[in-house]
Symmetry: C2
Subunit: 239 residues, 2 copies
Amino acid sequence: MKKALVKEESGELVETPVMSSITIDCVVFGFENGSLEILLVKHGRGIRKGEWGLPGGWIKEEEGIDAAAHRLLRELTGLDNIYLEQLKAFGDPQRFPVGRVITIGYNALIKREDYNVKAGFTASEAKWFKIKEIPDLIYDHNQILDYSLKRLRRRVRQAPIGFNLLPEKFTLLQLMQLYEEILDIEMDKPNFRRKILRMKLLVDLNEKQKDVSHRAAKLYQFDNTIYQKLTEKGFSFEF
Amino acid sequence: MKKALVKEESGELVETPVMSSITIDCVVFGFENGSLEILLVKHGRGIRKGEWGLPGGWIKEEEGIDAAAHRLLRELTGLDNIYLEQLKAFGDPQRFPVGRVITIGYNALIKREDYNVKAGFTASEAKWFKIKEIPDLIYDHNQILDYSLKRLRRRVRQAPIGFNLLPEKFTLLQLMQLYEEILDIEMDKPNFRRKILRMKLLVDLNEKQKDVSHRAAKLYQFDNTIYQKLTEKGFSFEF
DNA sequence: CCAAAAGTGTTTTCTTTACACCCATGT
DNA sequence: ACATGGGTGTAAAGAAAACACTTTTGG
């Protein structure tokens, strides 16, 4: 049975039985200063030492795959309850040079503010890259990223998942700019407002921005229970 | 290294190196007499002998996963070039009672007429089940099927893939009934006509139905190259 | 007062939905 | 003639797109 070093809650590295020939790779998205970014890690070992790649790792023998992805992300970011979606399995026989390994891709959406608070203590070298400035990555990670981005662009239009990239409280303009950045399009502010408000998906917090050098905007919040109720009534989110 | 019996082109069973702990399971959809159906196989071995399950199998050591799915479906149906979409990996540690096995799910869409022509020679016991009359399946196959159906319903609205379930030449009513059956809704005939024709996705064959006891309908064909061209121009299929 | 973003109003166009109705063909 | 599905027309309601304009606030 294959074993690998797995980081425990305590931070210790422990030899643990893991599934052979299957790994997980995560595309971690963040949104800051109007830019969509992903989190890459510098590879510590092997021929491709020093090159950047997607964060990932092995699956423990008795662990579900979503659970494994959550664990790996906790190790990397210090965050729990990250929004995750499995992409699919990538299994080109040549994708990994050392042997046959299939990897399961995930999209993770996180709030940059949370990351900035929690992440200090990570030992591994990790860095955010703007989506338009991604370097050559190890193995097939550029392909996985391409697929991941396509999927994100599709998903963001058919389900209200973009909110996972924004602070808890946000303005309508922030939300619109998130859409503009992800979909790489320009939108009309008045029309966007009306469309999103018409859905009655957002909670008006009766609060306003502070410390902005222009008229302060109202703050809104996304409420998943409202979305669930609307969905039951036949509502379907569409952009 | 794990080995398993794999059926070769010749029909022979040969001991072949396969990936350990990873399998493939396929949800094969067909459409006949207005009903959406899936193809199940009777399990030949183990405690659950005699029960129905999704067709599937092992991945050869040097074989891509899409290629493995195609091979398994060729063995089962005699058909090449089946329309395939990977769903995702299913990896609950308890899903498979004998040991830890992750399975990769696929949706396959086939034309029943092709199957009926080619399939006679299969040894394994396979049977079509109406989507509303699916029995209890082995392992987590009911869960995989649930996911598969949800995905099919989503995909069929955002890409022109339904055609893979219809004969090469079809009438607009057949197409509409396919949508009605998959999405489990009722549609308005005149409006459906206009909507689909407006997309200019279908080739009018200038041919008519024969042997029908009512006014014969025009036959149409889906042309993927037309769809590609429209897509490049920014067209996006939506239902 | 100006810049910058917030927010409202309005008009035009395109889609969607609902439904009435005529057409062609085999029995 | 009538049943069955094929196919066209149209009017009302709703959504999307484009853009002009007013409001608030800090500097």
